[in-house]
Symmetry: C3
Subunit: 328 residues, 3 copies
């Protein structure tokens, strides 16, 4: 968001340029990250009240455009918008014009004509959020594009780590599993580098890309050196299609599954969800007090509130702005 | 709701215990029922106004988590929440993480991390609402679990009967049809006993359990003794699977279908919907002035408003509370 | 809407009769059209503000009942309701009681028992909106019934034309394509006649009904005489079913597709969406500055706001009413 993106405006009425988007972790500076985490923290404080709704974005419209099913991410964005009093319009590819073969571009042009304040988009195609940014006047938030990026996941994980450890710089996180197909891993690696977190990739050779510029090992024992073990979801659907990446789920679990035995006492565990209990993560680990999974969900809500607020208001969050919002 | 349920709180931040749930009619006292019907009546009065929305639950979040499709129940709960100015988050199993094989427990933990005020849940598995109560800090309302319970249906039926007859005690209701598979029947039988309504079960031998502790007969003529004939939905999907419960829909309709000829003049008829016209209920009965089906739908809305209000506010509803709400 | 429709009220509590519906363009007078377009224009002005939401229909309930998938129309109605601060309840046939075989009549009776202010309905069956009007107490807006009517599409197209040309009377519009199966074309032809727009139908002989009382030709060159070329959607699903209406999509595109070469310079093009780029419309035309497609979407929003407002308030829109609404 440091490099504010200018878009072609030929087809639309002139609005207040320039717009702020969140398309990729690669666009963020360390200052951006700190500002966003700070805003999220401010919102988190208001979540402790009995009435959690803030009037901050009252009268605004957030469109959630999801081309892949996702309870977690779509409900998190929807609720983030509602907690800020924005209106939401949820468009899912199932049961929509998408069925009739309309192109993403035309869907975006249609939604753009409603002049929404923000379009949150998840799409299997890399670059889809940029395309929507190009043809609409809305602020765009990438909620996951193909194997490319999932920037709010990376931000919520940073928030979770900072909340847990009180700092980010100097932490060591082991990312375990199917790194090859994971947009979460790609986003995390960039985010970790930005804030000074050491990162080690661990997994089966076929799922471990060597071109990401970070340490990588096939030795599962390597996770013990890390402060946090970040377990990636093993995508059943990929394996059931008879690919050769992994012999079987059973074998994957035996070799790479995160069990209590493989962890140090007190070592923290994260997972972006939904979890395959008994595959990449042992249920005893998922339910242990060292699991940060619920904290991640909680962080996701306030981080997405912060992202919506930040792209829309464009400036640093001051005490004054939030205080005024609470009074309104 | 008399036996307020305490839950394990290890995994969650401490909230204001104890929480009130509506999991089963078996948890209710007669006082609970009378209080809830009274609240529903208060809300019903406000439904006569041109603007029916009340600010009572403004800023609250109601999650509707439906693992079975249902227009009636899910829209009734959604609207009940909206009429009270609460925000809603609707999660359906189709197109959600459920598709990815996430367990109910993990979905509940995720939703619980949003700190919703109430989770309304429908699930094919008996006990699912209790599981969600165990792992979240929300108030839980059971919107139907397997063949077990559907407590708001029982409450709305009591409300409908009271509105129609001016009393509950001493009424006689015949429940006709597939009692064996019906959570509606199970909930009604308990509710009827609680308030002093006599209940007779009528249906084909294979669909008539004998262990429910109430009168049961295979003689369809027995319905004439009742003040009200409560017709259960014949579940086509069950019959099409080639079960041996009933020979055919045609034969069922001939032997057990509720026709004008089988009713006394003025005898009232109820049905939880959706109706199979021409199977368990003759269209002439469904459309007659003695059908209370629309009244049941109308009752469902105000009873669900009352349930949401009651679990959240925890105390008896006074004139003062509602009056204050209207002013706010 | 001039001929206000009285309905049987036996089954419902008496409400304030008579109700206003928008079932068909055939019900509208020229005065109705002008009033609605005027209201839409008033709302369009408010869409230029940063906060676009108006409190006009606060506390009202709009039910969107869609038996056919449609991103465009359903999201347009949902947003129109939300921009006016109404609450919405969206019912789609997929995942609803419709799955359980409930009749439209019973679904309507159920929804009607909620006393919604407006029911917006799309249904594959001609006359479905009238049926819902007959059995509920709500104001009904037809969002498309079979091949019959799609009145808000016609109104938004008139609004778009008036905004573009400054007038309606005397314009000449060529409607091109599958007129036979198009409810859009049927609605447009009536609307054009009402306001004095000349209309020419152009298309393959098998898709060109001759009984609509307007000029019709199979000569694609005829479009050059028109001020506007209105391109109908070629329904793939129909062609894939092996009908004999059109030999193939490729051949249709070659003979009837709207390309830059077939248009005069500056000739305007409209399309109700979603577009099949490369079939009935060349991408260069879809993206040209003479395309009014996005303007149509924009018009759809304010026209539907005007329709909801008009059926509910029943009277002409005065400056005073809107001004008061803004203050509230």
């Amino acid at each position: 968001m440091n490099s504010i993106r200018l878009v072609r405006d030929e087809l639309r009425p002139p609005g207040p340029p320039p717009r702020r988007h969140l398309l990729s972790v690669a666009d963020l500076t360390r200052d951006d990250v700190e500002r966003l985490l700070g805003t999220a923290g401010t919102f988190a404080a208001s979540m402790d009240r009995e009435l959690k709704k803030l009037p901050t974005l009252k009268g605004r419209l957030i469109v959630n455009l999801f081309y892949e099913s996702s309870t977690r991410t779509s409900s998190s964005f929807e609720l983030a918008a509602k907690r800020l009093s924005a209106d939401t319009l949820n468009i899912k590819s199932v049961g929509s014009s998408v069925d009739k073969g309309e192109s993403l571009k035309d869907t975006a042009l249609t939604l753009g004509a409603y002049d929404p304040d923000v379009i949150v988009i998840r799409h299997p195609q890399i670059g889809a959020p940029q395309l929507v940014a190009n043809v609409t006047g809305a602020h765009i938030v990438n909620a996951g594009d193909g194997k490319h990026q999932h920037p709010t996941q990376a931000l919520l994980d940073l928030y979770t780590l900072k909340h847990e450890f009180g700092r980010l710089e100097g932490l060591h996180v082991a990312i375990v599993g199917d790194v090859l197909h994971s947009r979460v891993a790609r986003s995390l690696i960039q985010a970790f580098e930005l804030v000074g977190i050491r990162c080690t990739l661990v997994g089966p050779p076929a799922l471990l890309p060597r071109d990401l510029g970070v340490e990588a090992t096939t030795d599962i024992a390597a996770i013990r050196d890390a402060d946090v073990v970040y377990v990636l979801r093993m995508q059943n659907e990929r394996m059931e299609q008879g690919s050769n990446f992994v012999p079987s789920l059973r074998e994957y679990a035996a070799k790479w599954g995160i069990t209590p035995e493989r962890l140090r006492v007190g070592q923290k565990v994260m997972h972006p969800g939904p979890m395959n209990r008994g595959v990449e993560i042992d249920p005893r680990v998922a339910d242990s007090i060292d699991s940060l999974v619920e904290a991640q969900v909680r962080s996701g809500l306030v981080v997405r509130m912060a992202v919506l607020y930040d792209v829309l208001t464009g400036g640093p969050v001051g005490v004054r702005a939030l205080a005024a919002a609470e009074v309104a």
